[in-house]
């Protein structure tokens, strides 16, 4: 007789996914790893895990491609098949938490792509009720920015930001996907105030980025793996939409806590400048 399935419903970005396994130890791992993101909501999607004794986490490139209506997600350490019509999928992997994180991230990237959202290689925080994103190449300072954050700032993630469109722009959500900080984000959300592309330098300054450059940098940092013409077109449209709706700037910073004064004052200055522009337009109307 097969062992009964144990289920953990993990809700990231407002999308509840039921993760089920017959293995008690793996179920405990799910509960521990996604503590803070466990949910009693009705799951929108389901993944069933079959544990194997395959090798350790692989450095191979992941492949995400269609097999008929199903998605196949493959890397050396896992193989998953997911049917987006039924919302159900099956994963074969060993009990490694890093493989688990990877599968979950890829699944979310597929779901988000259809809904106009995306995962971004960026740290994100909530400051004064608004979300700020900090993106850049490895070593640019994502984790440094979160380490220097004042105590009233809420960490959403220091590694993978979760973004969904909302009525007035985009919202950022906390994720359990941690980077160097080795700390999961808080399970909360806020409207996005700005995205900063980080560069370290001798002083703190904020510079405008031309729209095309902003899209180029954004696309370079979006986590997207699917070999699918339709989704690629949707993703590019999403990136252009994001650039049109969210202020995107280059933040050159000297790594000490004063950079946070710049971040805090950004929205205030942006709102004032924007209001000035509106005034000017109406005067000429």
């Amino acid at each position: 007789m097969a062992a009964p399935q144990k289920v953990a419903c993990v809700e990231i970005g407002g999308i509840p996914i039921a993760l089920s396994t017959c293995d008690e130890g793996f179920h405990d791992l799910l509960l521990q790893r996604y503590d803070g993101f466990l949910s009693s909501s009705r799951p929108e999607f389901q993944l069933e895990f079959d544990l194997t004794s395959t090798g350790p986490v692989s450095d191979d490139d992941v492949r995400v491609h269609r097999d008929g209506d199903d998605w196949l997600i493959e890397r050396g350490d896992f193989q998953a098949r997911w049917d987006p019509r039924t919302g159900r999928g099956r994963v074969r992997q060993n009990a490694n938490p890093y493989s688990l994180d990877s599968v979950l991230r890829i699944l979310h990237s597929l779901i988000l792509a259809q809904r106009g959202g995306f995962l971004l290689h960026a740290a994100s925080v909530i400051c004064d009720g608004r979300a700020y994103l900090f993106s850049g190449v490895s070593g640019a300072g994502k984790t440094t920015m979160t380490r220097m954050a004042p105590p009233d700032v809420t960490l959403l993630t220091d590694e993978i930001s979760y973004l969904r469109p909302s009525a007035d722009g985009y919202s950022a959500f906390g994720t359990p996907f941690a980077g160097e900080l080795a700390r999961a984000g808080e399970n909360c959300t806020a409207p996005v105030a700005a995205l900063f592309f980080l560069e370290q330098g001798p002083e703190n300054r904020v510079d405008e980025l031309p729209s095309a450059e902003a899209v180029r940098r954004l696309m370079r940092n979006i986590l997207f793996f699917a070999e699918d013409q339709g989704l690629v077109e949707k993703l590019l449209a999403t990136a252009c939409e994001f650039v049109a709706r969210v202020p995107i700037r280059r933040l050159t910073f000297y790594p000490d806590a004063r950079v946070w004064d710049r971040v805090r004052s950004f929205e205030r200055n942006f709102a004032r400048n924007f209001a000035g522009d509106l005034q000017e337009v109406s005067e000429h109307a």
């Binding site: 095309a212 899209v215 180029r216 696309m219 590019l236 252009c240």
Partner: protein
Amino acid sequence: MPETCIYIARSSAIAARALAGEMMVMNSADSTFFTLNEVATTIFQAADGHTPLRDIVRDHVCEQFDVDPEQAQADAEQFVAELSGHGILLVSNQPLASERP
């Protein structure tokens, strides 16, 4: 000897969006991403598979931009070769059926 015509068409395996006078192009096969300047965008948009490249340069590039025709033709050929190498444009010495609607 008659001059060889080059025909160019946009690949079906790409996504493209115009933004602030530049064209963003992404190859869905390998997720490589390119931004095209205004001249390159003009050529890209005119790449219908049945208009020879020299006509595109003469009727679009030289009409819209202040460029030397010979230099424009040479630059266009280099640009087409580069984008063809990345799978963004298809190139032939025969007219091509456009892969995009």
